[in-house]
């Protein structure tokens, strides 16, 4: 229903209503996506069909209520299609599934646009609506022209028209009445009960089989109401909440007619609760009268069929042989249009301004606050009795205890607040089945996706930044990793490729693994390329060093990677996001013909870390405890090598020695004995000589501007209570500097 008059959308302008709607509808839309995934996996599951039907129905009603007519119409059509599926008269074939998927996508996009303050009218849904109609139409052709009753498959129960429960208040329409009603025309010349289309008839038949009743509702808008159309819309929206409106005269979609035409509206609808229909219809303001009459399905259907039979028969019979195929072709043609529509507008997740928090987490916080209040009165008591001559020693003890408690409480509150920032990683993982499905179709590959550890919780801010890189890695897997089915069979692999995604927590780190059983990366090819590019020392690089090159900007250009028949297009982007923005790390390993695994290591949270505070010169630095293995004393006699290339033994391993003084060019104090930390970054370790070990404490990390971090030595900066700055060191430098020594990517000169 394209852009109704603006007046009716008054509700959409109320920011609170709008926000509530967005939250609600966004959730419905997400669930819709998930349920559709489930449905695709198991199309025979009627519970899922019902769930999807219910979701589209709710979306339709809510958006109609808010005056988002296009959104509502889209959901309505989807609901109709799903209604047919639910009734058993339409099977969930490819075109139907695809049409519904493209509808769900568009709903998600529209939600995103609405969340950003846009409107649903910016979306042109014509192609999608056509594909939905075409999908529904395949049913009509497939089941022949014998009418909807015959269309009900053998699986459907009780095709016989049930006896409707009498609603005494409602006058019944006889067949003659129906015919008379058919003659009744709206001001625009349309008739309510005549010329019902296939789709509308199918809806009626469906409703009959569900045991619903069919009603004709005639509403007269108060003459004093200056704007009739908006009122008519409100009535429509209200009716939709209690019924399925099959037809409206005058029509509310298309170009709105002159406002006066909407003074009197007729609706043909089906419902399981006629009284509710009466109630909601009378509940709309500025309505002069509501007339509700019952129609008999069979009268209506046969009357309609009789009248339409002649016209329809030819078409349907002609289609009986080639029909099914022809309709399918039409459906896929419409689909192609829809797909083009969606592709050009990649759905973006709405930016969240409010969050959902598990109530359990809030309860924890609440009980801590209760403790805090108790603690406060305890301190107040001490202060009071101290004034009345309390023994100072006792007061001191009392206060010390209160302080201990306060310490625990504030620690607990901090943890509880942190917990509210944590959300399960399933919010990202849930998108993958769909992604894999779409890519498989596009690429002509077949892949089974397995997901585990989706309940792993991770900081909200990380989740948001993680979605793109993960999507990218999966795309790479399918694009370049997994072979085509024939090739897989030739290589003695199962026809279906396998992609696994998992998440787990490991100490203060979240580990995410994405692996495939594809062709693996061509490591010798990478070496050739590296040598060809003039990267010195590439001849003797280890496999790990070679694979790390893929993360270098410019190395993994498309051209290169295609040459390598490996993968890694844009892996530099992934690496930048993970290493720089998320303070994490990423690693690759691969076995030829067996597959590739990308592993992401991410900090649990970006905001607060336990760190070791150290001094170098006059400056303070912090090292996250998760990256410090140990502290050690080094004597000058233990040092081997010289000139910034020293090393020393640690647990049977010779590891490099760095110093803050040398790193930051503040000069290095010569001495016989040095304080050092043993840092660990992934598989490497190194000593870091510091001037002083200060303490272990929590620091709140703020991002550090690139201007101050030209060498990427910092992962953040923190301000202490006394205003001093602490720079948090990014320990990955121990790998980098190491590599620098071996000059892995310095241009050959």
């Amino acid at each position: 229903m394209s852009s109704p008059a603006s007046g009716l959308a008054a509700s959409a302008d109320d920011p609170r209503l709008r926000r509530a709607f967005l939250e609600e509808a966004d959730e419905l839309s997400q669930k819709l996506g998930e349920s559709l995934q489930a449905l695709e996996a198991d199309p025979s599951n009627m519970d899922t069909v019902n769930e999807v039907f219910r979701l589209t129905h709710s979306l339709k009603s809510e958006s109609a209520f808010m005056g988002f007519a296009r959104l509502s119409e889209l959901a309505h059509r989807m609901e109709d299609v799903l209604g047919l599926v639910r009734g058993g008269s339409l099977s969930l074939g490819r075109p139907v599934m695809d049409a519904v998927f493209s509808g769900a996508d568009r709903i998600a996009e529209t939600m995103a646009a609405l969340a950003k303050g846009g409107t649903d009218t910016q979306f042109e849904n014509g192609a999608i609506l056509r594909s939905l109609s075409a999908a529904a139409g395949t049913r009509a052709a497939r089941t022949g022209g014998a009418g909807p009753a015959a269309a009900v498959g053998p699986a459907a129960t009780s095709p016989a028209a049930p006896t409707p429960a009498p609603v005494p208040a409602l006058p019944e329409r006889s067949q003659a009445g129906a015919a008379a009603a058919g003659a009744e025309t709206g001001p625009t010349g349309e008739t309510l009960l005549q010329g019902l289309g296939d789709f509308e008839r199918a809806q009626l038949a469906e409703a009959r089989d569900r045991g619903e009743e069919c009603l004709r509702v005639t509403v007269t808008v108060d003459e004093a109401e200056p704007m009739k159309f908006p009122r008519a819309w409100l009535v429509f929206a209200a009716l939709e909440s209690a019924a399925n409106v099959v037809r409206t005269v005058p029509a509310l979609d298309g170009q709105p007619a002159e406002d006066a035409h909407y003074a009197r509206m007729s609706f043909l609808l089906t419902t399981s609760d006629p009284e509710e229909v009466v109630r909601v219809a009378s509940g709309v303001d500025q309505i002069a009268s509501v007339k509700v009459e019952r129609c008999r399905f069979d009268d209506l259907l046969s009357a309609v069929t009789a009248r339409a039979a002649e016209a329809d028969a030819g078409a349907v019979e002609a289609g009986a042989e080639a029909g099914s195929e022809a309709s399918t072709t039409a459906a896929s043609a419409a689909l192609t249009g829809a797909a083009a529509d969606t592709d050009s507008r990649t759905p973006t997740p709405p930016e969240k301004t409010s969050i959902r928090v598990d109530t359990k987490k809030l309860d924890d916080l609440w009980s801590l606050i209760a403790d805090l209040v108790l603690n406060k009165s305890r301190i107040a008591h001490v202060s009071e009795t101290l004034g009345k001559g309390m023994d100072p020693e006792m007061a001191r003890e009392e206060l010390a205890e209160a302080f201990d408690d306060l310490d625990k409480i504030s620690g607990g509150m901090q943890q509880a607040m942190m917990d509210t920032r944590m959300i399960p990683i399933s919010v990202i993982f849930n998108k993958f089945p769909r992604l894999v499905r779409d890519l498989c179709r596009k690429l002509g590959k077949s892949v089974e996706l397995s997901v585990s550890g989706e309940e792993t919780e991770i900081d909200r801010s990380i989740v948001e930044a993680l979605s793109d890189p993960l999507t990218h890695i999966i795309r790479n897997s399918l694009d370049h990793g997994i072979e085509f089915p024939e090739e897989r069979v030739r290589r003695g692999k199962s026809e279906k490729g396998r992609v696994s995604v998992s998440a787990r927590r490991q100490g203060g780190t979240i580990v995410i693994e994405l692996s495939d059983d594809g062709r693996g990366m061509d490591v010798p090819g990478i070496r050739r390329k590296a040598v060809g590019m003039g990267i010195s020392g590439a001849e003797s690089f280890t496999e790990a060093q070679l694979l790390d090159l893929v993360f270098l900007p410019g190395f993994s250009t498309k051209e290169v990677v295609t040459d390598l028949s490996g993968r890694g297009v844009g892996m530099d982007v992934v690496a930048t996001r993970v290493r720089k923005d998320l303070k994490g790390d990423v690693a690759l390993d691969t076995v030829p013909d067996r597959g590739t695994r990308v592993t992401l290591f991410l900090p649990l949270t970006l905001t607060i870390v336990n760190a070791l505070l150290v001094r170098g010169g006059t400056q303070l630095y912090a090292l996250p405890l998760t990256e410090v293995d140990s502290t050690a004393k080094l004597t000058s006699s233990e040092l081997r090598g010289e000139g910034g290339r020293e090393s020393a033994a640690w647990e049977d391993e010779e590891i490099p020695v760095f110093s803050l003084g040398a790193l930051f060019e503040t000069g290095r104090r010569r001495s016989d004995e040095y304080f050092a930390l043993v840092l660990r970054h992934r598989d490497r370790r190194a000593f870091l000589v510091v001037d002083e070990l200060i303490e272990e404490r929590e620091v709140v990390i703020k991002p550090v501007d690139d201007l101050l971090n030209a060498e990427r030595l910092f992962s953040g900066v923190s301000v202490l209570e006394d205003g001093r700055l602490v720079f948090i060191l990014d320990t990955s430098f121990i790998r980098r500097e190491n590599s620098d020594r071996e000059a892995p990517w310095a241009p050959a000169s």
Binding site: A530, G532, M533, G534, I535, L549, L552, P553, G554, F555, V560, G616, G617, Q619, L663, F664, E665, T666, K702, V704, D705, D706, L707, L708, A710, E711, L713, V717, V719, G723, R724, L725, F727, W745, A746, P747, A748
Partner: protein, 156 residues
């Protein structure tokens, strides 16, 4: 279209930046030194918990060192102009903040080549104004790091 700019002096030159970029103007006090800064970064200011890099415009624009004469900059007039660029705050160390000027877009000539010996690529252009010429700074460039990661040599 006429827009408003905050103008300031740096040596002999008069510069300006769009007024909507300017958050506040303050004395250079409480500067905190940082380890291994780029040559044009003086340090940072802690402004209500925000860590703001302070850039020496003189060094950034590679202006010649001020001659030590009596006409040199008056330290009492030295200010930091706090600007917001790409959503992040930066401080610009300038000799003196002058006034707000209105400049018409059409009055900004963009074909400036050599400008007082400094870096012309940090300028949007030169604006003609009844009071004289103003150099309009391209803040995103001035404050951009323009530092691409080292990359392997050209493909063979």
């Amino acid at each position: 279209m006429r827009k408003r700019y905050v103008s300031f002096a740096l040596g002999e030159g008069r510069y300006c930046v769009p007024v909507e970029h300017v958050l506040q103007i303050m004395r250079l006090e409480g500067l905190i030194e940082i380890p291994k800064p780029p040559p044009f970064v003086l340090g940072v200011l802690n402004l209500r918990g925000d860590i703001i890099p302070v850039v020496s415009l003189r060094a950034r624009l590679e202006l010649p060192r001020e001659k030590v004469t009596r006409a040199g900059p008056d330290p009492r007039k030295r200010r930091v102009v706090i600007t917001r660029v790409n959503g992040k705050p930066y401080g610009l160390d300038v000799d003196e903040v002058r006034e707000i000027v209105e400049i018409d877009d059409a009055a900004i000539s963009t074909d400036s080549t050599t400008v007082l010996g400094g870096r012309a690529d940090f300028l949007v252009g030169i604006a003609r104004h009844e009071d004289g010429l103003y150099l309009v700074l391209d803040l995103p460039r001035v404050l951009g790091t323009a530092r691409d990661l080292p990359i392997a040599g050209p493909p063979a």
